[in-house]
Structures are given as structure tokens and as C-alpha cells.
């Protein structure tokens, strides 16, 4: 991340008050990547210097044509800066705000999520069984598992699951006392193998949930595909082996077919010559909207299972790295108000996609225009973003972020100067030293000058679940993304900007008084 991007203004005229007794220091204030400087005279040697990282909190106030910034430092000092010019004050404040946070690589979504879970229930623990990625190469170092299950059992269960992806907690729904888990398919195989520890693990999930809770296993493959997977060593949980768990099949498109759907949709959107018939039949036959519908309704099913039936839900397909994540992350967005905030959503993406081992590198190697055919590409993450966009369209006041953030995530997932979406798993990111060698997208976004494009000015916390309508009439093509070529983005940006103006009551050149049409003469 370039620090210079965060600096909105380099210089301002300011007066520093270090305390009630200390004399005021007047001069030119400079903002650099790491420091705040105040020099009384142009050639002065006695510079006042503050390391930006030491700022703990910042408060700004403007009055008339000057402003005051109060900096409370980590060393308990309180400093006041009086700055000439309102604009300058705001710019300096924003620059400090951006710079003091520095890098977001320090953020540990799993640990912080566990802290939240621990407040709600003690049925879960944070396990470091995968510390060296030996158990599951695509899981992060720490995972949240039932307290009743020890690491040895986890290791056994991991051996019984494809790619070692044993069932782990994805989301704890406090209100119903139920849990959402995800894993990969069990390695039942043609010989109908069983694994006591794996069965124990799922049993412990039910035991730790609200009394009498049953479980649903949402398999994202059709019953037939799941059965066929046995021939290649996979399969799906049998009812006899997992008492209390009921299996539901909700086939979701994945892999090559999903990629083809994406390619065909983009092709159709770029065709300027077609008739309405052709367009509608291509929109239909590419099946993208059908995929959106299936993803949303499967997520609703999982969420309903928890909220309305009071059941625990385990989601998996085959590898558990694509449609599984799509369902668990959407279900959380539906149920969890915190995941709909700016920070919460970023945490969700980090926890449920990046840390959960969605292979971004493989899936997003090519987008819709490439002729290179590799079987690993699939726009699963894009499908997730589209579903979130549909949610946002149906609940325009309930997401703290706007279309701008979703577009940014889409762009960065496919190509990014930041390291966040690099590699396929946490293990690879460690090997490549992504954290030390690159900058985090999250800090980049949070300090972006274009906050307005990312944030939803109309957001109000909505404590209830968001149940979207998945009827075809309610689903729309995400024009802001798919019609980029043919529709200038300015118009939706204009709307967004106008909404901001109304909400913040700004007077800019754009918002000059509306000239009304002449009243008709009676």
C-alpha cells in the first residue's frame, strides 16, 4: 500500500497545544507517511515530530473557517492541533486517520470471530491442530471446533474428509443456539467406510447446540452425484452413521459449467446487434440468473434451518471450497446483522473465503474473455458478490456497503496490486510471505479516498434476518457489472452521489436549488 495515497494534504498552517500549561507552537504542519511534523519557521531546526502509529484516537471539530483536531496518543498524551481552513482540517484528519492504522495484516478474523462465539456459548474452542498445515493444507492455522472433540479426533476426522477438510464452525447463531458448519465430502468410498471420530464430531455439534437440536446436512450436489462420488472414494453421510442428521441435496453449479455460464453471459451482454428475443433467450440459456437463484435459495434453506427449525447445519459439496463457501457466507449475511457492516463484511470475506481456502489463484486466473481453457477457473466468488448485490437491491438500507465495494472486490479478486487475494490457501500465502511482501486490500479500501463509493449512506442496522425473494421477477441482472461495456457507470455513481448529498445535506455545485417547472396558470 502506498502511504502517499493516504495523504490528502501535505501541508497546512497550524497551532499545536500539547497541554494546558505548554505554550502554543505555531507553524507549518506536514503530513508524511509515518510522521506528523510541525515546523515553526521555514528554516527552523526545532521540529516537532509525532509518530503517527502512536495515535490512539482522533477527533475533529470545525468551527467557522478553522478546525481543531484532538489526538489522543497511545502514550496517554493529548494533543490539540488548531488548523486554518475547514477543508485543510478535514484533510489532515483523514490523512492521520488513514495512516495511523497502517497495515491491516494484523487483523485475525478467526481469532476475533472466536472471541465473539465464546461470549455466546462455550461449546466451541479454537484449535491449533492445523498449526503447520499438515492436517489440512487448505485450512488456516486455527479453526473453531466443538470443545468436546480433542485434536486427535480432529486428525482422524480430517483423514476421513477430502483434502482434510473436517467439519469446522462457520457461524454460530446465538438466537437459536445453533451452528453452521462446513467441510468437504466424507471419504466413504465404494466400501462404505465409516469414521467414528467424524461421527463423534458431528454428534458433539448437536450435543453442544440447544437441547434437542437436530442437524441438516446440505449437500450442494444432487443425490445422484453424491452417490456416484463413492466410486471415486467420496460420498455423503449415511443416515445410520450420523444419527440426528438429515441430508438435503441442493445441487449448485460449479467449476467449468459455472465458468461457461459466466462467459456466455458476458458475451450476450456485449452483443450490440441482437434482438430482444435473442437477448432474452441467451440470458436464459446462459443460466447465470438461475445460478444466482439456486445459490440464494440454498443459503436461505440453510439459514431457515437454523433460525426457524433450530437445527444445526453442515454444508458441503465435494471439495468444500466453492459452493460450500457460497452457501455458508450467504447464510451468514442473511442471518447476521454484524456481517452486513463494512467491517463485518470484510471479515466475512476474509474468514469464509480467503482463510477458508477458496483457491482464488486457480479460480480467478482468467475472467470471461480469455480463450485459454483451463479447468480450474470458476466465478464462484463473483456469484457470491452477485447474490450480495441482489440482497442489497432488495434491502437497500440494510447493508453498510454499496455496489462500489462489491465491484472493487470483484476487480481485486481477478487482478490486484494488493496481496489479499493472492494464492490458493493460507499455507501458500505463508510460503510466499504474502503478509510481509505485500499490502492488504482491506487497509487499502478502508483508507481509500473513495469511501463514498464503497459505503451506503442509507445504512441503518437491521437486527432481523434478511429473507430475499428468489422469484425470477425479483432477481435482476447486475447491470453495474455485466453491462459495464454498454452502460456508462457515471449514472449509477451519480445516483449514489446524490443519495450521499441528501443524507449529509451537502451543498455542492451539483446540488444547487432545483429549478422547478413553471406552475400552470389556472
Amino acid at each position: 500500500m502506498e502511504f502517499s495515497e493516504l495523504i490528502r494534504t501535505r501541508q497546512a498552517q497550524a497551532e499545536l497545544l500539547s497541554g494546558p500549561e505548554a505554550p502554543a507552537l505555531r507553524g507549518t504542519l506536514c503530513v508524511t507517511g509515518h510522521h506528523l511534523l510541525l515546523s515553526p519557521k521555514p528554516q527552523a531546526t526545532d521540529l516537532w515530530l509525532l509518530l503517527l502509529r502512536s495515535v490512539d484516537s482522533i477527533e475533529k471539530r470545525v468551527a467557522g473557517d478553522s478546525g481543531t483536531i484532538t489526538l489522543r496518543c497511545k502514550d496517554l498524551r493529548v494533543l490539540q492541533l488548531r488548523i486554518e481552513g475547514v477543508e485543510a482540517t478535514l484533510d489532515v484528519a483523514r490523512s492521520i486517520e488513514g495512516l495511523r492504522l497502517g497495515d491491516a495484516w494484523h487483523f485475525h478474523p478467526l481469532e476475533s470471530y472466536y472471541k465473539r462465539v465464546a461470549l455466546e456459548t462455550d461449546a466451541w474452542r479454537l484449535s491449533e491442530v492445523n498449526e503447520d498445515f499438515s492436517l489440512c493444507p487448505s485450512y488456516p492455522r486455527v479453526v473453531i471446533v466443538p470443545r468436546a472433540v480433542d485434536d486427535a479426533a480432529l486428525a482422524r476426522s480430517a483423514r476421513f474428509r477430502q483434502g482434510g477438510r473436517f467439519p469446522v464452525l462457520s457461524y454460530h447463531h446465538a438466537r437459536s443456539g445453533t451452528a453452521l458448519l462446513r467441510s468437504s465430502q466424507p471419504l466413504i468410498g465404494p466400501k462404505k467406510l465409516r469414521c467414528a471420530e467424524d461421527e463423534e464430531l458431528l454428534g458433539a455439534v448437536l450435543a453442544g447446540a440447544r437441547p434437542g437440536a437436530q442437524g441438516f446436512i446440505v449437500d450442494t450436489r444432487s443425490a445422484q452425484t453424491a452417490k456416484q462420488a463413492r466410486m471415486t472414494g467420496g460420498g455423503t453421510e449415511s443416515k445410520a452413521a450420523y444419527p440426528g442428521w438429515k441430508r438435503l441435496h441442493r445441487p449448485l453449479e460449479r467449476g467449468r459449467h459455472l465458468q461457461e455460464s459466466f462467459v456466455r453471459l458476458v458475451e450476450a451482454c456485449g452483443d450490440l446487434e441482437q434482438s430482444m428475443d435473442q437477448w432474452l433467450s441467451r440470458l436464459d440459456s446462459c443460466r447465470w440468473l438461475a445460478h444466482v437463484q439456486e445459490a440464494l435459495s440454498t443459503a436461505c434453506l440453510a439459514a431457515q434451518g437454523m433460525e426457524r427449525e433450530g437445527a444445526c447445519v453442515l454444508v458441503h459439496g465435494a471439495e468444500g471450497m466453492d459452493s460450500t463457501l457460497l452457501v455458508t457466507s450467504l447464510a451468514q449475511l442473511i442471518l447476521d446483522p454484524l456481517s452486513r457492516t463494512m467491517a463485518g463484511f470484510q471479515e466475512l470475506v476474509e474468514r469464509e473465503w480467503i482463510q477458508a481456502g477458496h483457491p482464488f489463484q486457480l479460480r480467478c486466473a482468467h475472467s470471461a474473455f480469455s480463450h485459454a481453457r483451463s479447468k480450474h477457473e470458476a466465478p464462484t466468488f463473483l456469484l457470491f458478490l452477485d447474490c450480495v448485490w441482489q440482497l442489497g437491491r432488495q434491502f437497500p438500507l440494510s447493508l453498510e456497503f454499496g455496489e462500489g465495494l462489491l465491484l472493487a472486490l470483484f476487480e481485486h479478486a481477478y487482478a490486484s496490486p494488493f496481496g489479499t487475494f493472492l494464492c490458493n490457501s493460507e499455507k501458500e500465502r505463508c510460503l510466499c510471505e504474502v503478509r510481509t511482501q505485500t499490502h492488504s486490500l482491506w487497509s487499502g479500501l478502508n483508507q481509500s479516498k473513495e469511501q463514498r463509493k464503497l459505503r451506503n449512506p442509507l445504512y441503518v442496522l437491521n437486527p432481523s434476518a434478511l429473507w430475499p425473494s428468489v422469484e425470477p421477477q425479483s432477481l435482476r441482472l447486475w447491470q453495474g457489472l455485466f453491462l459495464r461495456q454498454t452502460r456508462p457507470p457515471e449514472r449509477s455513481e451519480e445516483v449514489w452521489e446524490k443519495v450521499w448529498q441528501i443524507v449529509t445535506d451537502e451543498k455542492t455545485e451539483d446540488s444547487r436549488p432545483v429549478v422547478s417547472a413553471p406552475e400552470p396558470q389556472p
Partner: protein
Amino acid sequence: MDHITVTKVENVTLLDHFAGKTLSNGILYLTATHLIYVEASDAARQETWIAVHHIATVEKLPLTSEGCPLIVRCKNFLVAHFILDSDTICQEVYISLLKLSQTVLFEDLYAFFYNPKSTKEMRENGWKLIDPISDFGRMGIPNRYWTITDANRNYEICSTYPPEIVVPKSVTLGTLVGSSKFRSKERLPVLCYLYKENNASICRCSQPLCGFYTRCEDDERLLEAIGQTNPGSQFMYIIDTRPRLNALANRIAGKGYENEDYYANTRFRFMGIENIHVMRSSLQKLVEVCESKTPTVTEFLSGLDSSGWLTHIKAIMDVGTFIAKAVKVEKASVLVHCSDGWDRTAQVCSLASILLDPFYRTFNGLMILIEKEWISMGHKFSQRCGHLHGDSKEVSPVFTQFLDCIWQLMEQFPCAFEFNEIFLLEIHDHVFSCQFGNFLGNCQKDREDMRVYEKTHCVWPFLAQKKPDFKNPLYKGLNMYEVLDPSTLPCNIQFWCGMYNRFDKALHPQQSMIESLLEIEKQKMLQKLKALDEPPEELFTSCHFGDLLSQHPESPLTNPLDFMGDLHALSREGGLQAQKDQAKCQCGDCPYERFEIIGSFRAISISENVGFSGDPGISEAMGASEAIGISKASSEEASCSQQQ
């Protein structure tokens, strides 16, 4: 009314197939003007009001284990699926509704007995609110090229045109009459819109009666004169909005289209908008798709495709855009016609006007445009909307398509319109409701013959009064956009769920950005007013501010208010809000119990107090001992309650 043989049916279920739940039992009331369903549950009482003029079809299905299904389909796309207990009663309700909805005599239309208790003067002033002729003044007419003539004052030249028409100054009355004789239904070329900046104009007419060889000197002279009003251009377009094949077929019948060789300096173009019959069946198919229960994405999209509806919308948008570009970019005048020049011509001329002139994107502008290009120029509202029981082949959603096109523009230019979607829906409601005189009859002469201006009320003051609900908070003002250049690529033309699935609440976004912004603006305005220490009633007359509204002295009728209930749902529903006094009877006994006693009545009205006091006037009129809920003596909407 004698049509109603049963006035109240208990134990009726209303199904909502999208919400996925069955509503609890309720009571169905039949009145002379409305069919009302009241959910019986104690909590939030759901009411469904259906204006009898909105009823398109009533269908009685065979008896099932659940009861007798009765399906009422409405012109505003409400589909109510009732289940009644008794087959006999169901049959009675069915017959009553059939009779009620198929009005035979125009005197029986609601507008002729709708009485909002306003004075004669208020009613007359209401009719003066929108003056279509004043719009020509705005265009600078009369000027050196154009003149407003009352040559048609007794409807002698053309019976479906208004008395005053705008024609080139240079032509004589003889030429006009001569030209009219050469045009279908005497609808000669007249001015519709003048683009002041470059003198290019849009004129409209019907097809020429030329057959294969016939010519008319007067008609050619008139077109030449129109061409000369735009000296900056070497040519003028003649747009035939029909597909070539249709126009050719008309030639055989002695009608047809202009021969470029006979009309100097013209460029002739066919467009390809289908006729009213194609549009009618297209809408029918669309409605079937919208009604289908939980279709898959594929079923929906292929149904949408085969209905052809969006293809037709695109065709209209394409022609509108073509005309606007011809005027703006090519600086050429355009003469538009179809067959009779009152359907497709009205659509594309008014659409092009909206594209060219920001004024038509304001409240007043749209009202004037509808009054001018549709009402006074003789769009056959009565037949197209099926106001009276008659020829179903004349019914066609021409005006609905026009509103759809405006909505498409609003989707593409969210900051360019002063009004929001609800305004369009409300206009759509009243086109069919027959509550106001504006849309009655097929032309100006009809309305005069029906004495609409003396006997009925004008819709525009009623709508103007509810303006706060119809505002688009994103509107950036008159000067922000000039000419709109919409994309008519298929992917930019959308299905209007808010219209065709309007009453399937479960399909709509569950929160509205527009409503939320309007609320924010309202709060801000209230704060400002508080600061100024002024009473706020002048500014807010929306249903959210019910009590303020009734203090509004000029309002010809007061909007009945839902002050306790779900306001959002109400405004979305639009619909004859005047009648939808969603009374919550928490503070009084239920007025509906009294319907029985009263028998039939025209409309109920419930004031904000929801107290029910006797109203002597009404009681006397009915000879009943009890009156239905009227209270606070404000300019409340009257309940027109004489018994038939």
C-alpha cells in the same frame, strides 16, 4: 344497486401465492363501487379494496375441497384469489361482480356520482389546472411560422381532434379541410411539439387515404408548409410507425402511406410497432407469466420472451429515440402517423417530447403531456381501457406501454424525473378507475357530449395534492439534463415488476431507497420549519402527515389517511387511495358490521379520529338509523351514500 344481491360474505379466504401463506379468514363486502376484503384477524387488519371499474374478469372455478374459488383479475394487475364457503353464494357474488364490472351506460360510471364534497367552484377550478393549449405558449407559439386556430371549434373538420389545433400560419382553412378529407378519420397533420432551439417540429396525423395512386394537393401543400416552418433543414421525415406489411395491406383498402415522389423534400420511413391486437395478446401472455406460480428462471425468461412484451416496448422506445434524434441532431422536422394516429402516434410523439424537453419530466409537464397528446388528441381511452361493456377487440394496453417506456427512462436516468414510479402507477390506476372525468370517452367531443366538465371532477388536482408521495428525491432539476439519449439495447430494457406484479408484495424490494430519502427530506424540512416556527401544513400533504392534510382548505377532496397502519405498503399499492381508508378499528367498533344494515353504499370515509359519530345528512339520505364512520368535520371525503 340492484346488481348486488349479496352485500357481505363471511368466512372468505384470500390466497397470496407468493407470500407462501394463506391469509386467515375474512369478510368480503360488495358495494356499488368497491369489492372489499377485510381480514378477520385481530392484529394488523389487512384490507384489500378493489374498485369495480378495475375488475377485468371474474372467474368462478369448480368446487374444491377447500371451497369455491373465485378469481378476480383487475386492469391494474391485481389478481385476487378468493375461496368462499358456499357455492350458491359464490355464484351470487360472481353474477353481481360481473354485472357491476360491466357497466353499460356511461352515466353509471363512477365519475358521475363520485362526490368529494368540494364546492362547484373548486371543481371548476380543478378543470382549469392543466391547460394543454398553454403548452404551445411555452414553445413560443404563435410565432412567425405557427398559429393556433380554432377552426375545429364545432368539431367540423375532425371530430376526434380538439377545437384548437396548431398548424402552419401560411396555410388556408381550405387547405386544412382539403387535407383532412385525405386523411383517415379526418385527422390532418397538426403540430405536436416545436423544438424551439432549431425550429424542427413534431407533427402528427393519421394515414393518407391514398390507396395506390390517389394524390391530394391540399395535403401535399400542408406538408410543404410544415417543411417550410423549419428553414434550416432541407427535408422532413415522414414516420409511419407501422410495419411495412401492415401499411401495404392498408393500401389495398384505399389507405396507406405517403409516396415520397408526391411529397417534395420528404424522407419516408417505416418503423415497426405492432397494432393494438398484437399488443393486447402480448400483455395477456405477459400477465400469464407474471401469474404463474413459482416459475423457474427459465420458465419466466422464456415466457417473458414469448410474450413479446419487451420487444414491443423496445420498438416504441426505438421510434421515440429516432424522432428525438432527428429533431435534435439532424434538425429535421418529423411528421408521425400510424393508421388512425391515436395509438402508436400518441405513444411515440409523447415519448419523443419527454426525451427532448426536460419540462415533460416534471409533474406539470407530464400532466400537460398526457392531457395534450393523449386526452385532447383523441386517444380512445374509453375503448382501449374497456370502461364500458363493449367490443373487447378495441381494448389494448397502449397507454400502459407509454407509462412503461417512461419507467424504462426513469431506470436509465434516475435523476432526470421530478416524479417517481408511484406517480405512474397512480395515473395508471385512474385511467381505469373512471373516478375522474379526464379519461372518459374517446375524444374531446365525447367528453363534451357526456358533459364531463360539468358533472365530474378532474384527476390532476387530486394527484397534485398527493405530490409529496410522488416526488423523486434524486431529481436534479430542470437544467441538469437536456435531451435524453437512452440506450434501447435489449439488455437495457427491463421487466417492470412494480407494474405487472405490483400487488405481489413478496416480489418487491423489501425496503425502498426512494421512500427512505423522501422521509429524510421530510424530516429535514420539518426541522427547518420548526426553526422558522411556522406551521407545516402547507408543505406536507402526504398521507404520512394525515392530520395536516385535512387542514388543507383548497384541496377539493381529502386523501383518506392511514395514519396507524403500514404506510409503505399503502403508497406502494397506490390504487384508489381515496377509497382505501385503511381504517384500523382499534378505537371503535368495526364499521363493516354496519354495512349489512346500510346495504350498499358508494364509499366509506374514515377520518383520523376513527370515532364514529352519526352524520345526519347521510342517515337521512339512507333512512338508516346508523351512519358509517364519519367524524371530524374537515374537508373530508364524503361518502356518497344514497341507496340505489
